[in-house]
Amino acid sequence: MRDIDYKDKGGVLNPLKNLSFFGRKAVTVPLEPRPASANYRGFHLNDWETCIGCSTCQKVCDNAAITMVRIPDLPEDPVQGIRNLRPAIDYGRCCWCALCVDLCPTGSISLSREYVHTCLDSELDSYFVLPDAKGIHGTPYPKGWAKSEDADLVALERERMEELEPAERIGHFQEIVAGYDSNQAIIEASRCVQCGMCFDACPTHMNAPEYIRAIWKGDPEQAVREIYRTNPFAHTCGRVCTHRCEDACSVGHRGTPIAIRWLKRYAMDAVDHERVKAIAAEGKARFLSGKRVAVVGAGPAGLTAAFDLIKQGHEVTVLEAQAKAGGMVRYGIPDYRMPPDRIDRDVDVITSLGVKIQYQTRVGKDVTMAELERDYDAVILTIGLWMGRSTRIPGSDSPRVKRAVTLLRDVADQVKVSIPASVIVIGGGNVAMDVARTVARLQKQTFGAVKVTVTALEDLEHFLADPQEIKEAREEGIEILDARGPQEILFKPRKYEVDKVHGLRTWRVLSIFDDQGRFAPRYDEADEQIHEGEMVIEAIGQAAEVDLLGEDLTERLEWMRGRLKVDGQGRTNLPWLWAAGDMVLGPDVVSAVADGHRVAASINTYLSIQEDAA
């Protein structure tokens, strides 16, 4: 580059050297339209098919330019995590920073390569535009600034959870999952975009965004407070909840959902138990209503209702047939998933508020329903599903064929159960996995080897059990066979005693339901297999043991397809009787908790009205 001394050289005629420019074209002409660059931050595009209406774009928008607009024609499904909201942009406020793009959990939003906004005269007053996949003018422009790995601000990967290795965990019933430490919990919590999809999806509408936020602020006590607003089975749900929140989590659309369940568990474990009790007692009524409520069954639904009612000032007595409270959570879920000391804590919080539990009191035997009707202002039936269903295939009535719930209860009660070296489980749900894995552990302890075969009607794609459960069961050496329909239990004749189980004959399943959606399995008889095993366990579903009601009450109650008929608030057709939990809804802990709240609210209203009338 030449270097001139500007001070000395040059004169007044120097500019004339540039006269040649008169012969050149001006740089401004021609101004041909050209596309903006590939990364240009133009106007918004939003793919409505991908967008789930989570409103994260609205949250990160620094000028509050985004408003979520409800589009009634679009589907809305809280369980799937889809809202029919779509972002509308106020271009009077937008500053085109594209943070909405970079933080969009699904990647639906992007900016186009459109330079200029033109509109009709009639639209002149409005900068407020609802962009869809075609942009804001209805004429498609190519994508400019879109989701890229470089600029993605969503943390897609879940913080790793320490777990016992299969070889390590199979020998005992200790908990598999280690839980987060405070550092991990804060990192995991900080991934949350606070969209609230989890809140919508949760049956009991837990304030998950709030407690996650409290955890990332390093305040587990506040998290516990948020948790207890909606769920007194916090330890339980922190471990074995079916976590619909995580299925709906917006981060899960491209990555792994936030570990909401583990975060709840972290908060509960991080706070001292006495503190938890104090927090749970916040807001308890300081008066007594003088009303008495009886709850039949100390499971999640019953105790949740008891928790609510005692806080509202009513006197609550829970009648429990077993020696300990917790219901199916204690007697149906193996210890490696749900340690009993945590159930004790949940129960302890509830009893510390004044709920009385009468253990080993079986309604129908020790006390009758008629007595309850007489002595209490309201009664809640939360008796769960304790009777295992049978396949009713030939041989299933043998005493050598066990039901999963019975076996799990015996193990939980530490009754001596003799398990042979090879076992067949019929069923493909979570209970089947629970029983298979429990049996596997017992086998490992007794024989040093695992031989459990699970046969399920469903094929792997439609399995009812959690994928995680299936994966872990397989890791522990359990054989899982899908699409096998049980036909007959085979016996080896013995001379003196009852026959000994030899195996199970199955056919391959072609389809399970008929055209009307009724249960009518079709089999491929040519594909027959015989699975060898010395014991068969049926884990194909449970039913409620309703005989405790007594004949008279059973007559007076309305039933629907074998289940007690209740309205939306859990009321039966008798004014003093409510029913909730698994016996009404089918098995699910968190739904039972939600149902407990529901009946408690209904009973509270009922008792208040009664009071007014009196």
Partner: protein, 380 residues
């Protein structure tokens, strides 16, 4: 900032008159008024009035998440927005202790130097315009647009790039981008003789600009002058060399300076800095293919980001002088306080007021533009 708000109105004597320059006039790059008291065409007193472009950015930033503030920072100075971005993210990175990947640092330097080129083309074009030489200004603006094309490709925005993010940058270079940078730099360099003919060796301009708005080195230091304005008084102070940030230590460049301290010297320093910036940009273009790796270190979820408590003062050399963000965090999700140390605050208020005393009316616009002040940066 309005003078009438802090000073009682005075009636000028009968031989004096008041003249209000601005708030819109070609002497400065934004809305800005300069109130003169004159006797004939000699200026007796000048009062800067910056209050026409107050957007309350510093206050606004206290109410926004750390990352939302990225969109505000470049808007503080339109002609040279990049140092604003870089300085802010450097401050946040310092508070968080983030390690910025090397490639991102080189990309930031490229962006900073391209921005300096664009800003200088704007400024000496503008200075020429204040003396009536509009061709230079048109050329400057047209050539600046070529740099903006590069910005559009690299950052997605022509003026407000919002390209930097605490921890790195938001995009890597597109395919073939470095070739296009090279071509644009070659073109800009080839244009320099044209600019020289039209302006820098044109005695009409040289004689007009010499001796206007002169300040001594001592005055400059006393008044807090930095950047090309300070270097035009002979002091070779440049943050890039004297307090290096990013990868400036690894780059070769000169610090041009002049002795005279007048409008001519200031513009000439900019002309020479343009050459140095082209030189730096070329080094970055040559080095970038060899520097691989990520362009951003992992950062927390923006919605959850709490920056550790503390304060950071990070200065960079903008085209106008030393620019810094002072950022205070109380450990929250939003800054507790932010403050811009903008060079224009000194240049457009105290320096201009002092330099205008005794100057002639026709030189005022020239003095203003040669100080290269940016009004939005004066009153944030």
């Amino acid at each position: 900032m309005r003078p009438e708000n802090y000073e009682a109105q005075r009636q000028p004597p009968s031989h004096e008159y008041e003249l209000n320059i601005g708030p819109n006039h070609p002497g400065i790059e934004g809305n800005y008024a300069f109130k003169l008291r004159l006797h004939g065409d000699t200026v007796l007193e000048g009062k800067a009035d910056a209050g026409y472009l107050h957007r309350g950015f510093e206050k606004l930033m206290e109410g926004r998440l750390w990352i939302q503030n990225l969109a505000i920072t470049p808007r503080i100075c339109v002609p040279d927005p990049v140092p604003m971005e870089v300085s802010y993210v450097l401050a946040v990175e310092e508070l968080c202790g983030l390690e910025v990947p090397e490639r991102a640092q080189w990309l930031r330097v490229l962006q900073l130097e391209l921005s300096r080129i664009a800003a200088h083309l704007f400024t000496f074009g503008g200075h020429a315009a204040t003396t009536g030489m509009y061709s230079t200004m048109f050329w400057g603006m047209a050539d600046r647009d070529l740099v903006l094309d590069l910005f559009e490709e690299l950052t997605g925005g022509r003026v407000y790039h919002i390209y930097n993010i605490p921890g790195g940058v938001r995009r890597d270079i597109p395919d073939g981008f470095l070739d296009r940078v090279k071509r644009t730099l070659d073109y800009l360099e080839s244009r320099l003789p044209d600019y020289d003919n039209l302006l820098f060796t044109n005695q009409v301009f040289v004689q007009r600009a010499k001796g206007v708005g002169t300040m001594s080195r001592e005055q400059a230091l006393e008044w807090g002058v930095t950047g090309p304005n300070l270097r035009a008084t002979g002091l070779k102070f440049d943050v890039r060399r004297d307090d290096p940030y990013l990868v400036y230590e690894d780059l070769e460049f000169e610090i041009p300076s002049e002795e005279a301290g007048d409008a001519w010297a200031r513009t000439l320093v900019r002309r020479k800095e343009l050459v140095e910036s082209i030189r730096i940009a070329r080094q970055v273009v040559a080095a970038l293919p060899k520097i691989r790796g990520t362009i951003r270190c992992p950062i927390p979820n923006p919605l959850a980001w709490s920056v550790p408590a503390g304060s950071a003062y990070t200065r960079v050399e903008s085209s106008k002088g030393e620019l810094a963000w002072y950022v205070v965090s109380n450990g929250g999700e939003r800054p507790y306080r932010t403050h811009v140390r903008g060079p224009s605050q000194m240049h457009a208020v105290q320096v201009l007021e002092k330099l205008s005393v005794g100057a002639r009316l026709e030189d005022i616009a020239q003095t203003m533009f040669s100080l290269d002040a940016c009004p939005p940066e004066v009153d944030r």
